[in-house]
């Protein structure tokens, strides 16, 4: 299997706070990697760095064999190949669902309006959102909005999807519909890096689970091993707290 994503010694500080302290991670094509860890452990920052939304201080990020942290790379070209979905959906509130989805394919990929619409309607239909195409985001439920955000990222036909706690802002009864969409993506062979607090979901979907603690990947392996028999005391502690909160 060829490598979709390769991180080496990635460091990132915000002021004096060092959020990432040398992260190494390799993700193969069609692999689904879940990042778990406490809030503030650096999961979101890591994903934002891979998308180049945050410049890194040290290290290397390689996507499909191209070092995207090298000087002089075309940031916009790289971002088109990496889809990211945020916790707070970040849909464009002044545009209909259809325009949210077609905007980037038209502007960044140069698709005609007709081509972009056709593709978008196909994707929206696939995820049960066809009749919402002309609605505005604020008239949609949180689950629907997040599904639209996923469709919006998919419309760019990315090689890699980054999902940043996409169910954390949702009411519990809306979580399932979003997870269903992600399952379908995984079944379709999409390479994904998923930051999540949904441990049972991670166990289900992940090929590999990485436990982030204080800015490093402390432990990684198959979900069964990490979630059931973690070696590191910090991982055991974290999972113990999750179990006490009734989320595993």
């Amino acid at each position: 299997m060829s490598q979709a994503l390769f991180l080496e010694g990635v460091r990132k500080s915000f002021g004096t706070l060092e959020v990432l302290r040398g992260v190494d991670l390799a993700v193969d094509n069609h692999e689904v990697v879940c990042l778990i860890g406490a809030s503030g452990s650096g999961k979101s920052t890591l994903l934002r760095c891979v998308n180049l939304l945050e410049p890194i201080d040290a290290g290397r990020i390689v996507v499909e064999g191209v070092d995207i942290t090298a000087r002089g790379v075309d940031v916009n070209r790289i971002r088109r190949r990496i889809g990211i979905v945020f916790q707070a959906y970040n849909l464009f509130p002044h545009m209909s669902v259809l325009r949210n989805v077609t905007l980037a394919p038209r502007l960044a990929l140069g698709l005609s309006a007709a081509q972009a619409s056709e593709q978008a309607l196909g994707l929206l239909g696939r995820f049960g959102l066809a009749e919402k195409a002309n609605d505005y985001p604020d008239s949609l439920s949180g689950g629907q909005q997040q599904r639209v955000a996923i469709v919006r990222a998919l419309a760019m036909q990315p090689d890699l999807m980054l999902l940043d706690e996409v169910t954390s802002a949702l009411d519990p009864e809306l979580v399932a519909e979003v997870l269903e969409v992600i399952r379908e993506l995984a079944a379709g062979g999409m390479t994904m890096v998923i930051a999540t607090h949904e441990m049972s979901f991670a166990r289900d979907i992940a090929d590999r689970v990485c436990f982030l603690d204080a800015g490093v990947i402390l432990e990684q392996g198959p979900p069964a091993q990490i979630l059931s028999e973690p070696r590191e005391p910090r991982t055991q502690q974290f999972l113990q707290r999750i179990i006490e909160a009734g989320r595993l």
């Binding site: 939304l53 916009n76 945020f86 970040n90 464009f92 905007l103 502007l107």
Partner: protein, 291 residues
Amino acid sequence: MAGESRRRSDPALDGRRSRILGSLTSGAEGRRGALIATFSTVVVFTLLALLVTHAPGWPEVKKTFFDWGQFKDSLPDIARAFLLNVKIFCISEAFILVFALLLAVIRSLPGPAALPLRILGIAYADFFRGVPTILVIAMLGFGAPALQLQGVPLSTTFWGIVALVLVYTAYVSEVYRAGIESVHPSQAAAARSLGLTHWQSLRTVVLPQAVRRVIPPLLNDFIGLQKDTALVGFLGSVEAFKQSQIDAAATFNYTSYVAAALLFVALTVPLARFTDWLVLRDRRRRQATGT
């Protein structure tokens, strides 16, 4: 529609429904309220009218400022001259809206390479917000024609418009900039994460939201501009203020000023009410969606 009725019955919101009528609710309670409101309004205004008209010196004031004959004589000329104010307003506004947006965008450019542009933008805004408008108008209106350079227009109205555009561009760009900054960074992040360039994200995602939010304060600046068109009369262009000055000088009666004032008010009041209405509508909409 459930939301509609809930909003209507919320007294806190009803209180803001109309600043003029206050919180008049329907039903028996409301009828009593309306009665009291009408009564108190009539009493207060009658008292005020009596107080003014019975004040010592009122006949003099009336003759000097509120002479009906003078008013009728001077109004047609002033109204004609007022068309020039409207023209100055419309032409300046068109340029201001475009230039101010440009200036605001320049000031929001990212990256170290754009620093000189940002400095220029800041210097411009600081300078023209700091200098009195009348000074800029005098400087350009008297100074530029005095250069006697070929191709430089001599029209005072032209230079008046240029001065207003220069000054108001600085103000309005601040309004736009506030709007741009009010759009949450996550919106730009979402746009950039999809592979849009900075410019594309600004044009399609940030600016449309920013402009929508600042329409009320923009209109507020329009009201200021509408009034400041009178400053161009200082250069000699015969607009409403200058015309009323001419009439006053000829008759030693100042009713013509009142006539000009009424014309300005007639134009600004609808705009002010429209602005209020927009602000109210915006607030209701935000409360309805709960954000």
